[in-house]
Symmetry: D2
Subunit: 261 residues, 4 copies
């Protein structure tokens, strides 16, 4: 049960969102409130876009709360679109390649949730990854495998690609008797547009909130302050925050939203 934050808007220093707020992501690494795991000390990561078309990554296996490099980077890195993630591992190794976010080409992805009985389903999910992308399978998490599967499922239409893979995974977990749980609260971006998903099958979905202003949008697994403007994203919905537009919230697996892209 990890915690994460995604931002798209005016270019800003990461510290205003990642390290400075009272209940910042770094504070959540040592004491999260809306998570079954209150400690997210199994590594962390930053992903951000700058002048280069491909995003930058900084991932580390030590806890976010004690990493002095992270504080320097959050102060000095400025970005119009960035991700930050603190990890609570659910069975896979504590390695940098298992830390979020994951990058592939211009795309960035991070995830909070899990696919139940991962050891059982892993091979099938990895089988969804195209041969071309399989060399990018650097770790062993469900999250990275799902992302790479989505990459090969027509990522240029990201909501449709996500729905296609989520439908396949839903079929997988429902094949078991009793059915396995699957929770997927994730963010996806391409340097311009930001997408956030809240989905679950056979389980409650992990929390997801966002707050939008003229300066930009921030999407989080739990609010980092007591402001009342946080919007709760309902289960099985996607938030679409395209560059230059107000964010839209749409139900997943719904025709209109596919047309809307």
């Amino acid at each position: 049960m990890c915690r994460w934050i995604a931002y798209r808007g005016e270019t800003t220093a990461l510290e205003h969102y990642v390290t400075e707020p009272a209940h910042s992501l770094v504070a959540q690494s040592i004491h999260a409130l809306e998570s079954t795991a209150s400690i997210n000390g199994d590594g962390f990561g930053l992903g951000w876009y700058g002048l280069h078309p491909e995003p930058g990554l900084y991932r580390e296996i030590r806890p976010a709360w004690s990493d002095e490099n992270l504080r320097y980077l959050c102060r000095h890195l400025q970005s119009h679109l960035f991700f930050a993630h603190v990890r609570a591992a659910t069975g896979t190794a504590i390695t940098r390649v298992n830390c979020h976010p994951f990058a592939s080409g211009k795309w960035l992805f991070m995830h909070n949730g899990y696919l139940g009985n991962w050891s059982r389903w892993r091979r099938q999910v990895e089988g969804l990854i195209t041969d071309e992308l399989y060399p990018s399978r650097n770790g062993t998490t469900d999250s990275e495998a799902i992302f790479l599967a989505m990459m090969g499922a027509g990522i240029d239409r990201p909501v449709a690609a996500a729905e296609k893979i989520l439908a396949t995974l839903t079929n997988f977990v429902n094949r078991n008797e009793p059915a396995d749980r699957f929770r997927f609260t994730a963010a996806l971006a391409n340097g311009r547009d930001l997408y956030a998903f809240r989905y679950a099958v056979n389980d409650h979905a992990n929390t997801l909130y966002y707050r939008e202003s003229e300066r930009g949008i921030v999407i989080v697994s739990e609010p980092f302050d007591r402001d009342k403007d946080w919007v709760t994203v309902p289960e099985n919905h996607v938030v679409i925050a395209c560059a230059g537009e107000r964010a839209r919230m749409l139900p997943l697996f719904h025709r209109h939203q596919e047309a809307a892209e």
Copy 2:
């Protein structure tokens, strides 16, 4: 506010004390009960005696709960006298050299507590370290400095050496206006004998317990099971567990105990 465990007795695998109990030290690293810091995720360490006269050390900066090496070592290392420590840092860097236990020659030391206003007192405490031992000052913690000061204060009579340094440190902290706090709950060993101290000035002392049987003695900052045989060590006392003898508990700064050695 760290957590630690010390054992002296029949040779045993470390896992029986460090990783296996319900509320083991590794469990305490992610959820301690009797500590102001419930998370002790800022590194950890093992120190143990074997055939070699000098102890072995294994210290790491990642949290104990996620270190697979630690689990293998606790299963395979056997010892008649060992220390294990999980750290919650109070201002100094997360480096291996700042992790407990500390070793010097045949001696091993670990500590839970702190010396208030450490930045102010550090130079004076380091000044207590002899020139001969100063090259062994590898980190920046109060704990290591106090240990090295004790090493140069007649360590062959360890309780007297500890009392001498504790008295000096008590003078230091009482010089400030208002006086600084000093908490010292520590273990010291030489490969044969084990000493544990519970002391504080201008503050409550951190908890200390022990349990003794025919097989040996285990001394802990908090019990790792609900057994009723744990003995609470009172404030300002020392536990002396010499090889081949029953443990004795004596008040610190008390003539009789000096003679008793």
Copy 3:
């Protein structure tokens, strides 16, 4: 091109083989002689057998030459059968799970070599791993995949299992046009018996030597001293060093040797 050492014999401290010799494995980590990579600074590992039926592991991503924990462990760990390995990565991530040795049940394995065009063959090689063992696929190296494939190919007859997988891999690399290179210089043990392989197809095999005395056998990728008793293992041979017997050296893929087991 990694460097490694394997020992089976009288119980001894690891330091006599790993850290103390003039051209010890740790010295080879910073300056190997018979390797295309003179620096083996991409992590290292120890594997050893003790009282427990399953081996212990200590793996780290920093260079062996600067790891103080390694020196303490080599001094304090005693074993009748142990492996040590320093890594020069050839494309896969520097993570503990990609460091050798690898363990599965009572078996231990380490490797020096590579399978050319690994990105192309990876999926096929992973396909050789049984479903039961696939959850043990923690990293992304060719070495770990080959080991797990061997584990599922009748590991109770280890030379036959190795030959079966080596034959399959040889078929794989020969399918490419031009054929890919495959070098496999590896050690395998089960707590009693030690096997070492030197094999290559479409390439020269990496060097392999051993030295045997009444006290035991040590097998290495390059000698750690100038002693003249080192025996060069020819290409496409296996060294079989069973408990209580003199070592035998046999050609791989040879009927007599299968019967000899």
Copy 4:
């Protein structure tokens, strides 16, 4: 014998100097040419100035050649003044706090060289650090201690401050019989101006070069390409590269240069 590079000029991505050149600093980490230590694998660091008045730092204990975070940061960080350093340790621990560069307020410092018999002189050199700055003494290297001593010796006139401390250290090492060696090839910056020193006593000084163009100046311990424009800095000289001016090269301990500031 570390390797380093310092840049001041037009804002540029760090990668053009740190990772891309044929014989880049990262290449030098695994194979330096003009150093007694050809391998600089004991950690590394970046320091850079951006919008914030205080510099950013990224320091790691693993070798530069295998750190994927470093590659991302060098691609994405842009700066008008930055330092990069790869370390070959000479006796002190491999910890982040012992990695260069060091920062104090707006100042940045890195060093290649050593002060002979450091264990003997350490206490005296640390005694040169003011009480106010002593809490910033996070590691145990000679380099950090010398920097903090300079910080307290009137750093607003940096060449004079450096000369004052170099003179004191020269007195120290000359007191020994035979005299100890001292090599100091270092860079210092405040966000606007860049200073580089090449000095030694009782020894040859480590190499130092620079290259200047209209776009800026780059100062290095060894050239990263075969360009013929590299200027060799003579022993006991300082390079002064102030913002908006051509670099000047002056002898150390020379009246005119003090007046020139």
